[in-house]
């Protein structure tokens, strides 16, 4: 009854429709438009979906790969979300993740003679610290000097990429080798793969790149949820994000919160380095971030910056990335780039056009409420 009256009097959607139905509609529309692109290319979208699903979940190795991509998207999605809560748009996830990987690489190249329990905490700290450091300068400039964080983080992505090329080509390159890569890490430093970990318990699982960092990503989902909604710091951060002036009057420092949220955001993005460098590649190399930082934007928008939403969105994109890789085997005219198109559409419909269908949805809810009131 109360829902019906709020629909009629205030023109507001019920809460569940606002946080679940509307985003779901947006994502479905994005996927439908993606289907149109497939039709345009001259393939059958239903067949494509079938191959995608099989490629993403059809066998153990596929599930492993899907969750491996999901891990990256949880890290970068959370990074974007934490900044969103403070009212900041961090486009710099790509660069922060790149630097996070550099931190991991430096630690492991220096210490990989040591036992794993020494390397792991050091690598985790380095990943977070380097990512946070790369976010610090844009954060400081935004907070103290009003430099627009979107522009500065974009610039820092490019600076990170030239910095990494310089470091790898001139410093870390393994002598006597052409491609700019560091030497391979000693095997005792590698993060255990999930199939190995399951093996310890006698469960057999096909090998895949899925590794221990997946568990860390899941833990971070919970930690971020606790931080944002169940600590004073999270409360302050959200207050600044909703209304900087109100926050200031309440004695909450916007400067402090902008910097803290960006440091956390950068650290979260930096953890991508754990998965890619310590978990999968086992060496420092170029372009391992591969656009995952940008997918984080789609994930955060789709997941409405809530850990549950982020987990679901990261899983969807993980499935799309892995299933997308299978597409090119079945359809000679489709490659994984289809997933990039879908990603763009999701950002467009779930982000920029998030209220596109709100008037129509509201009209439907009105009609239902009126019918109930009348009958």
């Amino acid at each position: 009854m109360s829902t019906a009256s709020s629909v009629l009097k205030e023109g507001r959607l019920p809460r569940w429709a606002e946080i679940a139905l509307l985003p779901a509609i947006n994502v479905i529309v994005a996927l439908l438009v993606g289907g149109l692109v497939v039709v345009l290319i001259g393939e059958n979208p239903l067949e494509v979906v079938k191959v995608l699903l099989w490629g993403a979940f059809g066998f153990q190795e596929a599930i492993g790969y899907t969750l491996y991509y999901t891990t990256n998207f949880i890290f970068t999605g959370l990074a974007v979300a934490v900044a969103f809560h403070c009212g900041l748009f961090n486009i710099g996830g790509e660069g922060q993740a790149y630097l996070g990987g550099l931190g991991v690489g430096l630690v492991v190249l220096a210490f990989d003679g040591q036992p794993f329990y020494v390397i792991l905490p050091l690598a985790m700290i380095a990943a977070g610290l380097f990512g946070a450091a790369w976010a610090f300068i844009p954060a400081y400039l935004q907070a103290k000097r009003g430099s627009h964080i979107v522009i500065t983080t974009i610039m820092f992505n490019f600076i990170a990429s030239t910095l990494m090329v310089y470091l790898l080509v001139n410093i870390f390159i393994k002598p006597g080798q052409m491609s700019p890569e560091s030497r391979e890490f000693a095997e005792n430093a590698w993060l255990p793969f999930i199939h190995e970990m399951l093996g310890w318990f006698g469960i057999s699982f096909e090998p895949s790149p899925l590794n221990m960092s997946f568990l860390w990503a899941l833990a971070l989902l919970v930690l971020v949820w606790l931080f944002i909604w169940h600590t004073r710091w999270g409360y302050e951060l959200r207050t600044v994000g909703q209304n900087e002036n109100a926050a200031r009057y309440a004695g909450i420092s916007p400067v402090r919160n902008i910097i803290i949220s960006m440091l956390i955001s950068g650290a979260l993005a930096g953890f991508l380095g754990l998965n890619e460098i310590l978990g999968v590649q086992h060496r420092l190399l170029l372009n391992f971030t591969a656009g995952y930082g940008f997918v984080g934007i789609a994930v955060a928008l789709m997941g409405r910056s809530h850990p549950v939403g982020i987990l679901l969105a990261a899983l969807l994109f993980g499935a799309l990335y892995q299933g997308g890789a299978e597409l090119s085997f079945e359809f000679p005219r489709i490659t994984r780039d289809l997933v990039v198109v879908i990603q763009g559409l999701v950002i467009l419909f779930a982000g920029a056009l998030e209220y596109l269908f709100k008037p129509q949805l509201l009209a439907i809810f009105r009609r239902i409420a009126l019918m109930r009131a009348g009958g």
Binding site: V37, L40, I41, G42, F89, I91, I137, P138, L141, R145, G146, S147, H148, V150, I151, T152, I154, M155, F156, F158, I159, T162, L163, V165, Y166, V169, N170, F294, I297, A298, L301, P332, R333, I334, T335, D337, L338, V339, V340, V341, I342, Q343, G344, L345, I347, L348, G351, A352, L353, E354, Y355, L356
Partner: protein
């Protein structure tokens, strides 16, 4: 090679690499002066490059290619307008969406239509913009100094190069000497006042986006049908963002934006020349250092350490009419 010739050659390639930067930064100028952030320059340029190369290859006409590029870039600009002006969506999110869409669509359509791993087939000379020789350029080529400047630097570019640099005074004139320009600037500073005067804020912003769409379209066509002979995936390679940096570095004004674009183009040209060259006193400068300079300089400027870059006041804020 004497230093003068080297200098002329560097300036010559500076002009060539600056063209897309000049055009795209002018495009961003229209949009941002009207109050709409344009992160999507990169994507529009990329989509236009693909469309122009594809159309020029299929029809054999470079002009139809140019038209296709402008059309596609305009269409994306209108998507941006639909999201940000009509539906008051987040302008940055929309720009990011356009960049990612363009990056995916160009490759997926390129593979579907041409089956060349996302490239278009190489364009024949007739489907490309050819360089124009100024009268007497060949005759003057051997005259010292003047020959270098006239025959090497000024003559011998394609028509889009001249068009790009002529667009600068034209944009300046539109922005500062026409009623449209006045309204455009006003709508980016104080949309309420413009609305009160009975002018539609939305219409002004759509028109600004359309102007930007044309310019990024030409920039994309230049990349694929003038500078190169066809489309290569991700061929814009961050030029849209450098153009955005040039726009900010030029403090949202046409002539300074062009000068910044030239500066960034010059750095690019020098970086290629200096690869592996040891300079007196300084030694070898890492190429990556020069490549990073445009971005570093822009951050330093935004931080307010070298003058202050003041953005249009209403930038990034959707205009919601009071009821």
């Amino acid at each position: 090679m004497d230093y003068f010739t080297l200098f002329i050659l560097i300036l010559d390639s500076t002009l060539r690499v600056s063209v897309p930067l000049v055009l795209a930064s002018l495009a961003g100028l229209f949009s941002e002066r009207s109050g709409v952030v344009d992160i999507g320059l990169e994507g529009k340029m990329l989509a236009a490059a693909f469309a122009s190369a594809a159309a020029a290859y299929v029809t054999g006409s470079v002009w139809i290619g140019l038209l296709a590029g402008v059309g596609v870039s305009m269409a994306l600009a209108m998507v941006h307008g639909f999201a940000c002006v009509t539906h008051n969506g987040n302008q940055i999110v929309s720009g990011v969406a356009i960049n990612i869409l363009a990056s995916g669509l160009t490759v997926i359509l390129g593979i579907a239509w041409f089956s060349r791993g996302g490239q278009t087939p190489p364009l024949p000379p007739s489907a490309r913009f050819q360089s124009l020789e100024f009268p007497g350029a060949a005759a003057l080529a051997d005259v010292p100094v003047i020959g270098g400047i006239y025959s090497e630097l000024l003559s011998g570019h394609n028509i889009l190069v001249y068009a790009a640099f002529l667009a600068v005074p034209l944009v300046w004139w539109i922005l500062y000497r026409t009623r449209f320009g006045l309204r455009l600037r006003a709508v980016g500073e104080n949309p309420e006042a413009v609305d009160t005067a009975g002018i539609s804020v939305a219409k002004m912003r759509y028109m600004a986006l359309a102007c930007g769409g044309v310019l990024t379209g030409v920039a994309g066509a230049y990349l694929a049908t003038a500078q190169s002979a066809g489309f290569i995936r991700e061929m814009t390679a961050g030029k849209g963002f450098i153009a955005l940096a040039a726009l900010i570095f030029g403090k949202w004004r046409p002539v300074p934006a062009m000068l910044s674009a030239l500066l960034f183009g010059f750095l690019d040209a020098v970086a290629i020349r200096l690869q592996g060259v040891s300079l007196p006193l300084i030694g070898e400068i890492p190429v990556q250092f020069i490549q990073a300079l445009p971005y570093v300089l822009t951050v330093v400027l935004l931080a307010g350490f070298i003058g202050k870059a003041v953005a249009p006041k209403a930038i990034g804020v959707p205009y919601v009419k009071e009821r």
